[in-house]
């Protein structure tokens, strides 16, 4: 008899492929986003089956939660700007000239070729050759933490992670350049049930985010997952308009954006000034330094993700209102 767990894996994999097709084939944009969110959840489940709970956490919190909220916000913007709330957001683009059949066929052939190449490479790859796990296991005692993925992210390959934080910073700078202005949408009426829930849930979410950051030293978790969970609090506050970004708060926000990068770079410089290579932390302080960097990066990620969700830089536009004439 086949192991039922294999059937579960097969069903999950089939479901993932079907959801990917469905997400792109669905006509209605709102349904498309719901399908995409389900796709993200289900692929996080698959990554759990591949024994990658850290990645599943990151995908669920960032790849699905924050990205899903971003997509919903954009869809809402597109619908409101056209002034037809109930209408399909794709309508504005239907008037575009149709793409010639030849181009579509060429595109499809091109994609098929690339995918085929990928499949050949996948099948031709040596079956489970030795990877880095031996090296990582050897170096673990010097890393200062007990969880290999955290050791790789913040010690062995800390340069990558520093650059990753810089990418987030670059993204928020770009978004603030693209969009400016104060939002004037009225606060939604959430009702008493929500108020009661929020009073309990928001502090609980903050605790969970901090816990994930803390537990990252020895088990799946860490700065990115913790930061994303904290960003969820920001998202809820922004959505319910319990907090409305003000121009005066930009200074604090900018400080929070650079906090992670600055702390990370500063620690690297300090370590390097002691006659070592940057990120070669002295063993006695490795855990403290890693937790310090992670703490700052977590705060930075939380504020940056919330700002990316809000989108525009909170700034009063000078020429606003003059366009009426």
């Amino acid at each position: 008899m086949i192991d039922p767990l294999v059937i579960f894996d097969l069903l999950l994999a089939l479901g993932i492929v079907a959801l990917a097709v469905a997400a792109l084939a669905t006509r209605e944009s709102f349904a498309m986003i719901v399908v995409f969110i389900v796709f993200g959840l289900v692929s996080a489940l698959a990554w759990v089956r591949l024994s990658a709970p850290d990645v599943a956490l990151a995908e669920a919190a960032i790849g699905t939660g924050v990205t899903g909220a971003l997509l919903l916000k954009t869809l809402h913007h597109l619908r409101c700007a056209t002034g037809q709330p109930g209408q399909n957001a794709t309508q504005a683009q239907i008037s575009a000239p149709p793409v010639p059949v030849g181009v579509t066929l060429a595109n499809a052939a091109f994609c098929g070729l690339i995918t085929l190449g990928l499949a050949v490479a996948f099948l031709g790859a040596p079956a489970a050759g030795p990877g880095f796990e031996g090296l990582v296991a050897q170096a673990m005692p010097q890393s200062g933490v007990e969880h290999p993925v955290t050791a790789v992210l913040l010690n062995f390959r800390a340069y990558d992670t520093l650059m990753e934080v810089v990418v987030l910073l670059a993204a928020v700078i770009a978004v603030w350049q693209i969009e400016r202005g104060l939002s004037d949408a009225p606060a939604p009426v959430m009702g008493e049930v929500w108020q009661g829930f929020a009073r309990l849930a928001l502090p609980a979410i903050v605790v969970v985010g901090t816990y994930l950051l803390w537990v990252g030293a020895e088990a799946p978790g860490g700065a990115f997952q913790g930061g994303a969970v904290l960003a969820a609090v920001g998202l809820l506050l922004l959505l319910t308009r319990a907090y409305v970004p003000q121009p005066a708060h930009r200074g604090i926000a900018r400080g929070a954006f650079v906090l992670g990068t600055a702390a990370f770079a500063l620690v690297a410089l300090l370590v390097a000034s002691g006659g070592r290579v940057a990120f070669e932390y002295p063993l006695a302080h490795a855990k403290t330094l890693i937790l310090l960097i992670e703490g700052m990066v977590t705060l930075s990620i939380a504020v940056t993700l919330a700002a990316l969700f809000h989108g525009r830089e909170p700034m009063a536009l000078k020429h606003e209102g003059k366009d009426d004439t």
Partner: protein
């Protein structure tokens, strides 16, 4: 013994999940579906959480499972309320 009891509870929980999904698919309007889904899912998850807690045994795991169940119960009640209110407003808007 605890293992078997846990398995029984998990099995029962799965039955409630199936019932909730059938309700979501077969019931005629949004309020009936909401009623079916939230009750069945809440009970289903509670049973499964209890079963897994019985099987897991360690204190840390039981505490975390209790936390998860508590949060999901609160959140699904609140979200159910918000969805129902939204659906009612939409319906009201159409009649006015």
């Amino acid at each position: 013994m605890l293992e078997l009891l846990g398995a029984g509870l998990i099995g029962l929980g799965a039955v409630f999940f199936v019932a909730g999904t059938v309700g979501l698919l077969r019931f005629p309007d949004v309020f009936c579906r909401l009623h079916a889904l939230t009750k069945a899912d809440g009970l289903g998850l509670a049973l499964i959480a209890l079963g897994v807690a019985l099987q897991a045994g360690t204190g840390g795991a039981v505490f975390r499972i209790a936390l998860i169940w508590g949060f999901v119960a609160l959140a699904s009640a609140t979200c159910g309320h918000l969805i129902a209110r939204h659906a009612r407003q939409m319906a009201g808007g159409r009649h006015d």
